[in-house]
Symmetry: C2
């Protein structure tokens, strides 16, 4: 089929413009509209046809947005349905009405570019099926880590490799708060207040500080990395609102800082199956429950060593580390939020979607063939940093270490610090399953010599 | 057009395999063949159809390569021409016969994945035209920075942004040598010998140590970043063979290390044109020569501050920093060479090309519409670190600084170190054009009080 034929069939030619509707004019939408208007020459050259803004759906018309009033509408559904709209950019956020609007667009054969992580984390399957049905494109680079290309590298560049792990700092608000706490020694609430004042935290910061935003992004990253469907509900999640200045202080004492990490991990299954497909017992007792790999996806604050590359990702920056069988360890770093950086990712997708309209290409569809089960958090071995307030008397260390041993949790280091009122013990463990650690902590709390278990934090990013 | 129709037209269906020919079985080819054979199930699921290795072109048949003998052939041309070959992976390197083989493949409508930076640096135009003519794909992620996705992000993710700068450490051999010199204090020849012994440098290291390899990669990166054609001959190039242990020592004294950098830079033109298109004089005297942006592409060893993210990229690792108008600064980091990492990049391209065969998609073609002129190195302002051996007598500093002033080169700092036999002066300049600095150095060498100009190195990565 020649190019001319494709173009004729699809109705696009060098003089036939590609019409764009933008849904939402917040930080990102405003920048997308600006770039569409300011860079129309470059966009035309890169796409092969003019890219024309048909309209912007907004909630209120009585605000001066610096663009011609006839481009603005409150009727998003009608804008999406217009005959001269070929591409829809959804940057309004939230589940409804974004979901319905995207579905109408895709069903109508219109390609969609979205930055909506919350929607994608739960509805990618539905949206991808709609795109597949009408051979439209669904692009979403901007949904994870702002300007940093990580969605496209996972879908395309890593498509011939086997990804084993993705670890990222993917939420700018929490990273700003933790970086500031680390730097100033201030406590959580004061730092959150400062972040809000500076515009790094929203008025209701729950989605960020409790890890919901990072969990949605982790679900997206895990789905792409492991070719399996992971939704937000599959992600184990803890936020940063319980992190204290003492946590950062004790982390610092062991050469670490605290980061909110999104971790997507392949847990290798026992691939040695018998001929009838049942698992073969592994002699060393580390038998794995099924023949299939499992996937663990989790978001929590954790200590990481200061020599780890993610430890120096500060402020509102994001970074994602991808570990794959052949590629080894890759790291992607940049601005994870903000109007212009997120708009850069949206515009890259928009140019690709527009080129596909013009040249007859297509975005890669959803790839979830692996259908890997989710491993429960109780099964996940991590290292722990346990902070105890103890009575300063003989035998405390023995009693404490005995409880760890009793639950099969091996201790790496113990550090004791004397205080007037007693002593502090900081125990760092080797890898132990979450459930064993939880049992240990419960037992420690019942010891007479333990005043309190001040904090339990995971330790990530160590080789051992 | 439905999917079934596309598949029927193209002759691919779920049961119709996609045949692959691999040209060359060195480090990369061996890994590509291994992955194709070991991961055929995953590849089939990701592509939508089986991916089958049809044959491997090698130079000699009398070596046991651990694969069935019937897959090996010395007749690359015949392998490429086979009816059951749909995709050609070129990992033999060199210009000929790689160029001819790739052209035959593309002309015959077969998609090509190549890692051949030397070929691409000079012949991308020709190869891209052949691909365009037959609607075949030309992919080359593996040509720059091994496993690190940087080609695809530049072509696709940044396609809606305006890239202003790309700076990378893109040659593993020279980075291994410079990192080792920095760490051990050893001199260049001893370190090169060690690198050769460890397999990090080839028997003839010229292409690496003299910067030819980095220059080819810089040409490719600049072409993609700026949508213009840049060939290896457009790249200003200096290697690392003249770097001494003293250079690393004096760099260290000013908080810097030395790296071989590939720098691709947009030099903004004077965009204020009069109505007839002629440039308008800019009052402050910094008039730019044309209305068009120009591009500077250069490879040389330079000092960079130890706090710069590229300074901690050590050993055989690579990293590329991309600065764009909206995305801000992005960094990509990982293994830049080696069989498995490079094969990971090849396999990602291979899966995409195979998917395109199956689903009827297409790789983005060459985008060189901007046609930006290359700025000569003499016009490029950089900072310099000038090391002088001087007589330890009154008036030396005055004489030296006078020569800088005379040629319009502004000094940032001067450091003097006394020695028995005289003194050493280390001058760090503000930004100055290459030509002004060259004139200054010539004038310095003629001063009675200057024993020798020990070294002149550029300083990059500072904000000023």
């Amino acid at each position: 089929m020649t190019e001319a034929v494709t173009q004729a069939r699809r109705g696009f030619g060098a003089e036939h413009p590609i019409g764009v509707a933008v849904l939402g004019m917040g930080n990102v939408g405003t920048e997308v509209v600006r770039i569409l208007r300011e860079h129309s020459d470059d966009l035309r050259s890169r796409v092969g046809a003019p890219v024309v803004l048909r309209g912007v759906a907004v909630r209120r018309l009585d605000v001066d947005r610096g663009i011609p009033a006839e481009l603005l509408t409150t009727d998003a559904e009608a804008l999406v349905a217009r005959d001269d709209v070929d591409l829809v950019v959804e940057v309004m956020g939230g589940i409804d009405p974004a979901r319905k609007l995207i579905l109408s667009a895709l069903t109508g054969g219109k390609s969609v570019v979205t930055a909506n992580k919350a929607l994608l984390a739960d509805y990618t399957g539905e949206l991808a099926a709609a795109a597949e049905g009408s051979r439209a494109d669904l692009y979403f680079e901007a949904a994870v880590a702002g300007a940093i290309p990580v969605v496209r590298p996972l879908i395309q560049s890593m498509s011939g490799d086997r990804v084993n792990r993705v670890v990222g700092i993917v939420n700018g608000t929490t990273n700003f708060i933790l970086s500031a706490m680390d730097e100033t020694g201030a406590d959580y609430s004061a730092t959150l207040a400062e972040a809000t004042r500076l515009g790094y935290a929203e008025a209701d910061p729950t989605a960020d500080v409790e890890g919901y935003d990072a969990a949605a992004k982790a679900a997206i990253l895990a789905s792409l990395a492991f070719h399996t469907r992971v939704t937000a509900a599959d992600v184990y999640r803890e936020g940063i609102s319980k992190i204290t200045s003492e946590d950062l202080e004790t982390a610092d004492a062991v050469g670490c800082t605290v980061k909110l990490l999104a971790i997507c991990e392949r847990m290798p299954g026992n691939e040695r199956l018998s001929l009838d497909g049942s698992p073969i017992d592994v002699p060393d007792g580390t038998a794995r429950p099924t023949g299939k790999d499992r996937v663990s996806v989790r978001v929590y604050p954790a200590l990481i060593p200061r020599r780890h590359p993610l430890s120096s990702v500060n402020g509102a920056f994001n970074a994602v580390v991808v570990e794959a069988e052949n590629a080894g360890r890759l790291m992607f770093y940049g601005q994870g939020a903000g109007g212009a950086p997120t708009a850069s990712a949206v515009m890259g997708d928009l140019v690709m979607a527009a080129r596909n309209k013009f040249y007859g290409g297509r975005a890669p569809g959803e790839s979830v063939y692996a259908e890997l089960p989710i491993a429960p958090i109780g099964d996940i071995p991590t290292r722990y940093h346990v902070n105890l307030q103890v009575a300063d008397r003989t035998g405390v260390l023995q009693a404490v270490s005995g409880k760890f041993a009793e639950h099969g949790v091996s201790i790496s280091t113990v550090r004791q610090e004397g205080y007037d009122e007693g002593a502090r013990l900081v125990v760092v463990t080797h890898h132990a399953p979450e459930s064993a650690l939880a049992d240990t902590v419960a037992a420690l709390a019942e010891l007479d010599s333990v005043t309190s278990v001040t904090s339990v934090l995971r330790l990530e990013g160590t080789e051992e």
